[in-house]
Every structure is written in structure tokens, then in C-alpha cells.
């Protein structure tokens, strides 16, 4: 029985080793870029990297829950844009007060997610198709609603400060970063301490077993897709606050990066596996890499190739760990 005991300890140990590997990848990247250009680790640039992580990180958090269930959400980029547009419309056209407009925008994101979830559960659509439809629909609606023009929040100077204001007056430490940290903590609690996290993994691990255990799988799934939409809505808030406007054409390709962050962070696209800290580190890896390549003035056309190679190897090392 002593054996059993140590074993138990050892096993819980392996749960951390995943995070160790991707943290190591992150550290390696940072050290490499630091050697290439010491400015990389200047306070200003660290803040730049963190700020650049905000939108993608937010989308990645949202999509993570969906990925845990074994689903996928390729609409997060378009939904993010749509919710920022709707928030802008509420503010500038319908005369909502600012907090109401912001809340409305985030809720629109949640609503879009819920609709995808209904498509997945009640219409039996594969998540890829349900969210692809949602992507196409919100893309169109963003253009129609905004009349294909950016919606400016210039009338509300507060709006810009939501993301870009300095937290506690610390210069360079933008509110957006604080929001990302706060949302990450919320996501972490939701994931590891509450039913939504437990059920998202259970559904991803064996949906039928969950159903036969009396879990209302459909309702939870709709909730999880809605949660993903809410996160996209917050992403839209940060984005439009940074830009001072809602840009109806933005967001293309953001979903791939968000999914990539989750997968680098250890989520399996077949569901049942993954973690919130992993996802955030995944998002950080992507943005530090992109930032570093730009700082090194690597020609744009080569940057994507480098990112691709590094991502492949980051995941490779992580897979090697699992094999061991």
C-alpha cells in the first residue's frame, strides 16, 4: 500500500509536467529573443506583448470550454466583431448609457454562442458547421448593421480608457491586461471548481455516458457555447475600446489563432482534455513569438512560416511528454 501512496503522488505530479513543458517553450522563446534584442524584455515591450495577448487570449479562453466538450467554435472572431458593432450601435444610435451598451454587446456575444449551441444540440449540427454558419451570419450582420462603416466611440472618451487606460496609474500597464487576468481567473474557477468545467470535460470525454448519468447534456452544451460567446463579447469590448471604434470587417482568422492557443496549451480537439492555464500560456507563446519576430524585423512573409514551425515543435515536445 505504500507503493499506492507514492504512486498517487507521482501521478498528480505528471499533471503539472505538461504545463512545465509549455512554460519551458515560452521561456526558451523569450530568452532567445532577449539575446537577439535586449529590448525584447524591456518593460514597455512586455506590456506590449501582454496587451497583444488580450484579444486572442480572451477568444482562446472562450473556445477552450467548447473544445473541452469535443466541439469547436470557428465563429469567435466574427462574433467578437459583431458584439462590438452591436455595442456601438446601442451606444450611438439607440442612446444606451455606456455600461448598458457594453453589457449589451457582451450579451450579444453570449446570445450568438447560445444559438450555435442550439444548432449543435437541437439541430444535431456538427459544431464545425453550426459555428461556421454563425461565423457567416455574424459577418454579414456586422456589415449590414454598421452600414459597412466603423462605428466610432469618440463621443464617449471613457470607452477608450476601458482597455487602454492605465491601471492604478501605472504607465503602460493597461486596464486590458487587468481584464485579461481577471477573466482568466474567472475562467480558471469556472473550469476547475464548478460544474460547467466538470461537465464540459465529461461531455468531451464520453457524451453518452454523461447523458446516461442524468446530465442534461444539451442544456450544458448550450451554456458552454454561450460562455464562449460571452468571452468573445469581452474580447470585442477590449478590441473596440483599443481601437476607439467597432470595425465591422475585423476578426478574420482570429478563430484559428484562438484554437491554436488552446491546442498548444494542451487541449485535445477530440475533447475531454485541456486546462485554462495551458490555454493562456498557449496564447502568450503565440504573441511573444509574433512580437519577437517583428522586433527582429523578420520579413513579414517569413513570419508566418516561423510561427508555424515553432508551434509545431512546441506541440511536439508536449506530445513527447505524453508518450513517455
Amino acid at each position: 500500500m505504500t507503493q499506492t501512496k507514492t504512486l498517487g503522488k507521482r501521478l498528480t505530479g505528471t499533471e503539472f509536467s505538461h504545463k512545465l513543458i509549455i512554460i519551458a517553450v515560452l521561456v526558451l522563446l523569450v530568452v532567445f529573443f532577449y539575446i537577439m534584442n535586449p529590448n525584447y524584455l524591456s518593460y514597455g515591450n512586455i506590456m506590449t506583448i501582454l496587451l497583444a495577448t488580450c484579444v486572442n487570449g480572451m477568444l482562446a479562453l472562450g473556445v477552450s470550454f467548447v473544445i473541452f466538450t469535443g466541439g469547436i467554435d470557428i465563429s469567435v472572431g466574427a462574433v467578437m466583431t459583431f458584439s462590438s458593432v452591436m455595442s456601438g450601435v446601442a451606444l450611438t444610435r439607440w442612446g444606451f448609457p455606456l455600461p448598458a451598451a457594453i453589457l449589451f454587446g457582451i450579451l450579444v456575444g453570449g446570445f450568438c454562442g447560445a444559438v450555435s449551441g442550439i444548432g449543435v444540440t437541437k439541430m444535431f449540427l456538427p459544431p464545425f458547421i453550426a459555428t461556421m454558419a454563425m461565423q457567416m451570419i455574424t459577418k454579414g450582420l456586422s456589415l449590414v448593421v454598421s452600414n459597412m462603416r466603423p462605428i466610432y466611440f469618440t463621443s464617449e472618451p471613457v470607452y477608450q480608457r476601458i482597455a487602454t487606460g492605465s491601471f492604478l496609474g501605472i504607465s503602460g500597464f493597461h486596464n486590458a491586461i487587468v481584464i485579461l487576468i481577471a477573466v482568466t481567473i474567472i475562467a480558471y474557477i469556472l473550469f476547475s471548481k464548478t460544474l460547467i468545467g466538470r461537465y464540459s470535460l465529461a461531455i468531451g470525454s464520453n457524451e453518452e455516458a454523461a447523458r446516461l448519468s442524468g446530465v442534461n447534456v444539451d442544456r450544458w452544451k448550450i451554456g458552454i457555447y454561450a460562455l464562449g460567446g460571452l468571452f468573445a463579447g469581452v474580447g470585442g469590448l477590449i478590441m473596440s475600446s483599443r481601437l476607439g471604434s467597432a470595425q465591422p470587417q475585423l476578426g478574420v482568422g482570429y478563430e484559428l489563432e484562438a484554437i491554436a492557443a488552446a491546442v498548444i496549451g494542451g487541449s485535445s480537439l477530440s475533447g475531454g482534455e485541456g486546462s485554462i492555464p495551458g490555454t493562456i500560456i498557449g496564447a502568450l507563446i503565440i504573441s511573444s513569438l509574433t512580437n519577437g519576430l517583428r522586433i527582429m524585423s523578420v520579413p513579414t512573409e517569413l513570419q508566418s512560416a516561423f510561427v508555424g514551425i515553432v508551434l509545431a515543435f512546441a506541440v511536439y515536445f508536449d506530445q513527447m511528454r505524453k508518450k513517455r
Binding site: 504512486l7 498517487g8 460547467i196 464520453n206 453518452e208 455516458a209 454523461a210 442524468g214 482534455e273
Partner: protein, 506 residues
């Protein structure tokens, strides 16, 4: 010993945290059936997976025909004539029966590129015919019942021209008729000079089919005996390391205890027709029948509303409408599916995450999970059911088959339902654990729960049930109570295909 066709010497194999096989030696002669027995998790499957190239051994040697061989993958083993029927079904559900059987050795037309499906199908039908079975070679395997799938596995293995055939619990979900057919074929293979490894928890079978028996315990070799010289009791004692007491079922006094579940004229598709029955608190109701009799379908119609078209269900006297598992569970019905891997468990999650799955409301408040409470319960269940796991934080997929079944049981014990439907509860479970499960069924009944046990193992039905219902082709064909329960009567009802005599039960 010297004349063994294949010998495994001093084999060791560890998994993270587990010494699955610890210095075990084992060998089979040509023309012999050598049984391998042991408790769940004793390391039987692991040992044989090493032989068939699924796992690589940590140390030890394998000697075939007095020559050491190196087996690193399945194809190496196949090339040496070693073929294994796996305990867990390893079939491709989207492919047809014929495609599965010939998988990896597809028949091709003269061009050697184009596949010859027709020939494969014809040969499949012939292979089945050797087992006295009929088959549609084009049926998708995913549509078959578990038992039919197991037959596909067996037929597939038989089509290999193997020198050494490893059968890991091939009869776990077969009925006695099919088992007999299988044994006939096994004997023919034996006559033919093949070496056969036979793993089973059905110890009665060993007398019928095996020549020698090797017992393993906790990954270690215990003994090898000649079957004629071995007594069942001795084997059991070697397996378990202690004595096992068989409890005889005491008759259930139908003193008008409260009706826990009553089903009237239930219809669900072709396989459930006009099924009516009841079960009282404290009673164990056995559901017997041949494979495909519709017992699983009946249970699922009650529990999950599958294919349900008409009929009334009363729980504790109250009529309930069941559209899905949630309704059933709320009404107090639990169901342990026969296919635990596909339906019962989240394999990638831990023991502690699976056990509370059906009762999360008990282990959460305001959506927050109460981890300490859940862990306490899981530890308790682990103790009660003797679940062999290094820790409740072990992932279920790393447990042996029998222990996985216990986790499913623990899940429903935690939920504490009034009516519990067990579908083949001891499939793949070792004799010691089986006895524990029987004991548990009795205890649950004594606590006033109503138990329905679907089983294709007649001895089990005979031993545990207070009352037995027999199904055939979707209808209840007979009911037996107390002393009436015997093998012949059950078999008579089980093949009663004319529907004249209804097994109507009030």
C-alpha cells in the same frame, strides 16, 4: 515443459505506478489449451499483449520453437503466427462484418489493387457457417449487439492461419449455445496442433476446454496445474489468496412489499413488444434470454426512453413519464449499461470524477464542486467495492476491465436509486469480485431496493435471482419463481418463438 511451442520467460512490464507483470514465465504446447486465470488486474491481458506485440516487454525473453524471437509490434507477432482476440472489442464500427474480418488482409482482384468485396463476403459467410451461425456480411458492425460483435472478433481471429491463438475472455458476452459452438471450433484447432491461450473468468469453462491452467496474482506467477488435477476451489484460492464463500440465495418472501417498479404493455420498436412486469422492493428480478432477446432494449426503453412508443411505467405506485435518463434517475431508476467503456464511463477522467457523475447536485452547492465531500465518497466506495486503483485520482482508462465495472457500480451506489437495473453486471469480472457483487446485490435488496439483473450467464441468474423473467424476440415468454427456477425451464422459455403463450405477469 520442454516441448512447449512458445515460452515466455521472466517477463516484466511496468506502467507508470503499476507493476503489471512481474517476472512471469508461461508457455503453451502445440495442441494444447492453456488457460490463464487471475483476479481483475492480475496482469493476464498485459502478459498476452506482450506476446502479441501490442506492448513491448521491459525485460525477459520469448522463445518460439527453441529460438528467441523479438516481437516489437503486432505485425511481428502476426508474422510468427501469433494472433490475439482482445478483451475490449477492437472493431471498426463503421465497417461491415466482412470488412472487419478481413481487415489488414483484404482480398483483391487479379489487378491486385481493386478490392474483392464479394469474395470476402462469401468467405465470411463460410466462416460463420463453421460456427453454425448465419450472418449478413454487409451489416455495419456498429449496428450489432455487443455479443454479435464479439463473435465478429472471434471469427476474425479464426481466419488467421495462426499457430498460437490467444483468446482474452472470448465468451464474456456469449450465451451457452454460442459458447458450445466456439468450444467445438477450439477443439478442432487443438486437434490441428495449434497452441491456444485461454483467458476467462468463467471458471466452469476451464474444465471443459483447458488442458493446463496457470494462475496469476498481482502481476506474479502463482502456479501451473494440470486441469484434471486441479479443483476449482483450489484455483480460486490461489487466485484470490484467501477463501471465497459462496452465499446461497435465500428465497424472497413476497409479503406484498411495496411495488417499486411496474411496467405495463411497454412497446419500443421491434425488440420490445408488450412487455409487462413488476419488481418489488427488496427483490432481485433476473432477466434471462438469449443474445438479442431484447433485454437491453427493454431496459433502455425504461431508462432512456429509447424507441419508446407506448406503455405505462409506475415507480413506487406513481405513474411517470420517461423521456430520457434524467427523468428516470429523478424517478429513482438507475441503469448500468452492458457496454461500460462506451456508455458507462468517461475513460479519460479520474475515478473521483466518474463516481459522483450521476449525483453532482449532492456534491456541489451553487455550482461549485465540493471536492472534499466527493473525495470522501469516492474513497468510501473504493473501500466498499475494493476498487483496485493506485489512487482515486487515477484515470479510469488505466484500470483493468473489472475495476472499471466497479467504478460504474460506485457511481450508481452513490446516487442511491430505488430501482437499479444491472445489464450484465459481472461481465469480465473475476470470481472474487463477482462474489462481492452478488453480495452487494443482496445487500442492496436487503436495504429495500428493487434490483433488475439482466444476465446471459445462467449460473448467475440461478444463483442471484428471487424471480426470473425470460425473454425471447422482444417478448416476455415466461416467469419462474423460487424453486421453479432451473436451467431447463429457462432455456425452454428462451427459445419459445411462437408467441402463443404470453408470459404475462401482473
Amino acid at each position: 515443459m520442454g516441448n512447449e511451442l512458445i515460452q515466455m520467460k521472466d517477463i516484466c512490464k511496468s506502467f507508470p505506478g503499476v507493476r503489471a507483470v512481474d517476472n512471469v514465465s508461461y508457455g503453451v504446447r502445440a495442441g494444447e489449451v492453456h488457460a490463464l486465470v487471475g483476479e481483475n488486474g492480475a496482469g493476464k491481458s498485459t502478459l498476452m499483449k506482450i506476446l502479441s506485440g501490442v506492448y513491448t516487454k521491459d525485460s525477459g525473453s520469448i522463445i518460439l520453437n527453441n529460438e528467441e524471437v523479438n516481437i516489437t509490434n503486432v505485425r511481428d507477432a502476426q508474422a510468427l503466427g501469433i494472433v490475439m482476440i482482445h478483451q475490449e472489442l477492437n472493431l471498426m464500427n463503421h465497417l461491415t462484418v466482412a470488412e472487419n474480418i478481413f481487415f489488414g488482409r483484404e482480398a483483391k482482384k487479379k489487378s491486385r489493387i481493386i478490392l474483392d468485396s464479394k469474395r470476402q463476403e462469401e468467405e465470411t459467410v463460410q466462416m460463420y457457417a463453421r460456427l453454425n451461425l448465419d450472418v449478413d456480411p454487409r451489416a455495419k458492425v456498429g449496428r450489432l449487439t455487443v455479443a454479435q460483435r464479439q463473435l465478429v472478433e472471434i471469427v476474425k481471429a479464426l481466419t488467421y492461419d495462426s499457430k498460437i491463438l490467444i483468446m482474452d475472455e472470448p465468451t464474456a458476452s456469449l450465451t451457452s449455445g454460442e459458447v458450445e459452438d466456439l468450444f467445438r471450433v477450439v477443439r478442432a484447432l487443438k486437434e490441428d496442433g495449434r497452441a491456444i491461450v485461454y483467458i476467462s473468468h468463467k471458471l466452469e469453462e476451464l474444465k471443459l476446454i483447458s488442458d493446463r491452467i496457470t494462475v496469476m496474482r498481482d502481476g506474479q506467477f502463482v502456479a501451473t496445474l494440470n486441469t484434471e488435477e486441479a479443483s476449482l476451489d483450489a484455483i480460486i484460492q490461489m487466485m484470490v489468496g484467501r477463501e471465497v464463500f459462496e452465499t446461497k440465495q435465500s428465497p424472497f418472501e413476497d409479503t406484498g412489499a411495496e411495488l417499486a417498479l411496474k411496467v405495463e404493455n411497454l412497446n419500443a420498436g421491434r425488440m420490445v413488444q408488450d412487455v409487462s412486469f413488476h419488481v418489488r422492493r427488496g427483490e432481485i428480478l433476473g432477466f434471462a434470454g438469449l443474445v438479442g432477446a431484447g433485454r437491453t432494449e427493454t431496459a433502455r426503453a425504461i431508462f432512456a426512453g429509447d424507441g419508446y412508443t407506448s406503455g405505462d411505467i409506475y415507480v413506487g405506485g406513481k405513474k411517470v413519464t420517461i423521456k430520457g435518463p434524467r427523468d428516470a434517475i429523478r424517478a429513482g431508476i438507475a441503469y448500468l449499461p452492458e457496454d461500460r467503456r462506451e456508455l458507462g464511463l468517461a475513460l479519460g477522467m479520474t475515478v473521483d470524477e466518474n463516481i459522483p457523475m450521476a449525483s453532482m447536485s449532492k456534491f456541489s452547492s451553487f455550482g461549485f464542486i465540493q471536492f472534499a465531500k466527493s473525495a470522501a465518497n469516492s474513497e468510501k466506495q473504493r473501500g466498499v467495492l475494493d476498487i483496485r486503483t493506485p489512487s482515486i485520482r487515477q484515470k479510469v482508462k488505466f484500470l483493468s476491465g473489472g475495476n472499471q465495472q466497479k467504478v460504474v457500480l460506485a457511481k450508481w451506489l452513490t446516487r442511491n436509486c430505488d430501482v437499479i437495473i444491472f445489464d450484465e453486471p459481472t461481465k469480465g469480472i473475476d470470481i472474487g469480485a463477482k462474489n462481492e457483487i452478488y453480495k452487494l446485490l443482496n445487500e442492496l435488496a436487503e436495504q429495500g431496493k428493487a434490483i433488475i439483473m439482466i444476465s446471459s450467464e445462467l449460473p448467475e441468474i440461478l444463483r442471484v435471482s428471487h424471480r426470473v423473467l425470460v425473454m425471447c424476440e422482444g417478448r416476455i415468454t415466461g416467469e419462474l419463481v423460487g424453486d421453479e427456477i432451473d436451467q431447463n425451464r429457462i432455456m425452454n422459455f428462451a427459445v419459445k418463438r411462437n408467441h402463443a403463450a404470453g408470459g404475462q405477469v401482473g
